[in-house]
């Protein structure tokens, strides 16, 4: 098994005839993903270059194909609308690649689409290696195996996965959850899924500065996954002090959000933190060996 996505998941692409949408659709199909069609309003009835049916609406696409998953490539002003359309059509799993979605749009989307799992926005999507790829990840870097990976960053994910694959550590599912302030699916949401996935034997968490998602993940591992080998990486130790949400934000989130706080939280939870992405495979192998 794997989480969120497997060989049988039926996927549609919203914005399938756009430049990015069509390019990445062909890559997904090439990877073996079960893409069953796509949506571009006004182009219903046409076929893509690869022969996939195009529909005018998500509802029409779902009715015709039975799709449960969608991958969204639409410009930022229309991303929320695309998510609502998917939700209304009964889609249960939506990956929103779009970067630059207004944060208030996402606030409202996540507050009103209970029952639909959203990955992103501003994320590279996810992959269950050997089974299916939804999003923009470079599939050839990945290898099927038993490590689950969750990351807030796109390119850093590939970096880490590349290292795992070279070290012979294949992956069950790799989820790029996105780096925006408001995202549909958090580290903890993914941990919960991995916990119930028989294929996943170990987990890598790639966090970065800002927010408290890493602290929450550390607490979850400590409280609910004591036996599972987990390794973390926290990017941005040398990052410039970002313009924060201001003091009011700090009051809400307490003193969390710094690299120090995140590293401390992971260590306190018994999760080793790699200094460099390249150290992750060794740390993971060590944890796997000691857990057997």
């Amino acid at each position: 098994m794997s989480i969120f996505l497997d060989k049988n998941s039926k996927i549609i692409v919203q914005g399938i005839t756009g430049a990015e949408g069509s390019y990445h659709t062909s890559r997904m199909v090439k990877y073996g993903t079960n893409v069953v069609g796509g949506v571009t309003p006004g182009k219903g009835g046409q076929k893509t270059a690869g022969g996939l049916p195009v529909f005018d609406t998500v509802k029409a696409a779902v009715d015709a194909t039975g799709a449960t998953h969608t991958c969204i490539f639409v410009p930022p002003p229309f991303a929320a609308d695309a998510l609502y359309e998917a939700y209304d059509a009964g889609v249960t799993f939506a990956v929103c690649i779009t970067e630059g979605v207004p944060v208030h749009d996402m606030l409202k989307v996540v507050g009103t689409t209970a029952g639909m799992r959203i990955i992103g926005p501003n994320c590279p999507g996810l992959i269950s290696p050997g089974k299916a790829l939804v999003g923009i990840m470079p599939g050839h870097v990945f290898k099927e195996g038993d490590v689950g990976l969750i990351s807030r960053s796109g390119t850093l994910t590939y970096e880490v996965v590349d290292g795992l694959t070279r070290a012979g550590l294949g992956q069950s599912t790799c989820v790029g959850i996105g780096g925006d302030p408001i995202i549909g699916t958090t580290f903890v949401d993914c941990l919960r899924e991995f916990q119930n996935d028989p294929q996943t034997k170990a987990i890598v968490i790639c966090g970065e500065i800002g927010g408290t998602d890493e602290e929450d993940a550390a607490a979850y591992v400590r409280d609910h996954m004591p036996g599972t080998p987990v390794v973390a990486f926290v990017g941005g130790r040398n990052a410039p002090p970002g313009k924060s949400l201001g003091h009011a934000g700090a009051i809400i989130s307490g003193n969390f959000g710094t690299a120090q706080s995140k590293i401390a939280a992971f260590r306190e939870a018994g999760v080793p933190v790699a200094d460099r992405p390249s150290e992750i495979p060794a740390l993971l192998a060590e944890r796997l060996a000691s857990s057997v």
Partner: protein, 395 residues
């Protein structure tokens, strides 16, 4: 985008939040003209984004035209002094002249976005006019919070509840739910990441005013309010932001440090990790640069020139891992950039992998460049070229 006080108050005024009578002024003469023949005491405040105006002597009182001109001249004479967040200080470009309110009590309220609950968070305290972080340390019991259900939005009970829980003076209470509702309107209508009134002032005659205004808008939502493009031009960018914008990057995609290893990567996460790698290899980074997606020749050339011309970089470590960015495009960009640039040449260390990496490597090889295999290797190579330093920027 952070708004100046006068801009924030304009949004407050539109939403029906009571704000003091005021005039935005550029020059001391404007202030003098405005105060000519006007009775009472007025406040002249520097319009800057930095905090600490009071301590820096950038808020002064004045009666009449002559005094108005002289305090304005004093305020404009020097920029805001530097602090930790703003090591370059901040130039003062304009002033706000405002009626001096007869204040008896000061409170605090703000609305921001809470990542953890994924909801708007409202914060209220009966202590206003001081740093809210200080309040939260000294008087934690005075702080009340509410997380708004976005399906419902703001409803007046929220204001009533917060007023009671924060222990606001009863004189505030009647007006507070409506004022907080109007503040929520500003937050929601303009897509703000933060709206803050500090202090919310109660006057001797029982009226309530927003005595200051802090608004941070979401850059991704600015397109919905075309007028904000003009407002943005009235706002100072810091030097790094200005350089980034001039090079066609997002203003948060570039930041300089005092090291000698230039960096350029695609994606903020990888860019940060690249900096971390340079630090671990014993080098000092010259900059943070996230080149973003779609790194074509023009983009790569501009980024190359940005690093070369604005930092002390002796080498540029380009670290590209292709997902949406295609390796062949980046490689062509690099080759093309080096052909066309008129800036000085510094050595490049290139790490290129991911989507279309073979094609990318072939293009680089044709141009006589040999990419490194891993990020660590690239960092080591770059630090070797720049010369090892003793201090690490890393924690």
């Amino acid at each position: 985008m952070n708004l100046m006080e006068y801009q924030g108050k304009e949004l407050f005024r539109r939403a029906g939040i009571p704000v003091p009578q005021s005039r935005h002024a550029i020059a001391p003469d404007d202030v003098a003209e405005f105060l000519n023949g006007v009775a009472g005491e007025w406040v002249v405040k520097a319009q800057v984004l930095m905090g600490g105006r009071g301590k820096a002597g950038k808020i002064k009182f004045a009666k009449g035209a002559a005094e108005g001109r002289s305090v304005s001249e004093e305020i404009l004479a020097t920029p805001m002094p530097p602090n930790r967040q703003n090591p370059a200080g901040e130039p003062i470009k304009s002033l706000l002249v405002e009626e001096k309110l007869p204040i008896t009590k000061e409170a605090y309220c703000a609305i921001t976005i809470d990542r953890s609950t994924k909801k708007p968070a409202i914060i209220v305290s009966r202590f206003g006019g001081m740093d809210i972080e200080e309040v939260s340390e000294k008087h934690p019991e005075s702080i009340a919070k509410f997380f708004v259900d976005t399906a419902i939005g703001y409803s007046p009970f929220v204001g009533r509840e917060l007023a009671f829980e924060a222990g606001l003076d009863p004189a505030f209470r009647k007006q507070f739910p409506a004022i907080l509702g109007a503040l929520y309107d500003v937050f929601f209508r303009y897509g703000a990441k933060l709206v803050e009134i500090n202090p919310l002032a109660l006057t001797t005659d029982g009226r309530v005013y927003a005595s200051d205004a802090k608004v941070e808008l979401d850059d991704d939502a600015l397109f919905r309010n075309p007028e904000f493009a003009e407002w943005q031009q009235a706002l100072p960018l810091d030097e790094d932001e200005r350089l980034a914008a001039e090079s066609g990057l997002g203003i948060r995609n570039f930041r300089r440090f005092d090291g000698t290893v230039g960096t350029m990567a695609n994606g903020a996460g990888l860019a940060m990790a690249t900096m971390d790698a340079v630090s671990f290899a014993g080098g000092k980074v010259a900059n943070f640069l996230d080149v973003g997606g779609g790194a074509n020749a023009e983009r790569v050339r501009k980024c190359y020139e940005l690093v070369v011309n604005s930092t002390d970089a002796k080498v540029l470590f380009i670290n590209i891992f292709g997902g949406i960015t295609r390796g062949d495009e980046v490689a062509r960009g690099i080759v093309e950039a080096l052909k066309t640039t008129t800036s000085r040449r510094i050595p490049l260390v290139i790490r290129l992998t991911g989507t279309n990496e073979e094609e990318g490597r072939r293009i680089l090889a044709e141009a006589g460049m040999t990419p490194v295999e891993t990020m660590d290797e690239g960092a080591e190579r770059a630090v070797e070229i720049a010369g090892r330093t003793t201090g690490q920027a890393s924690s």
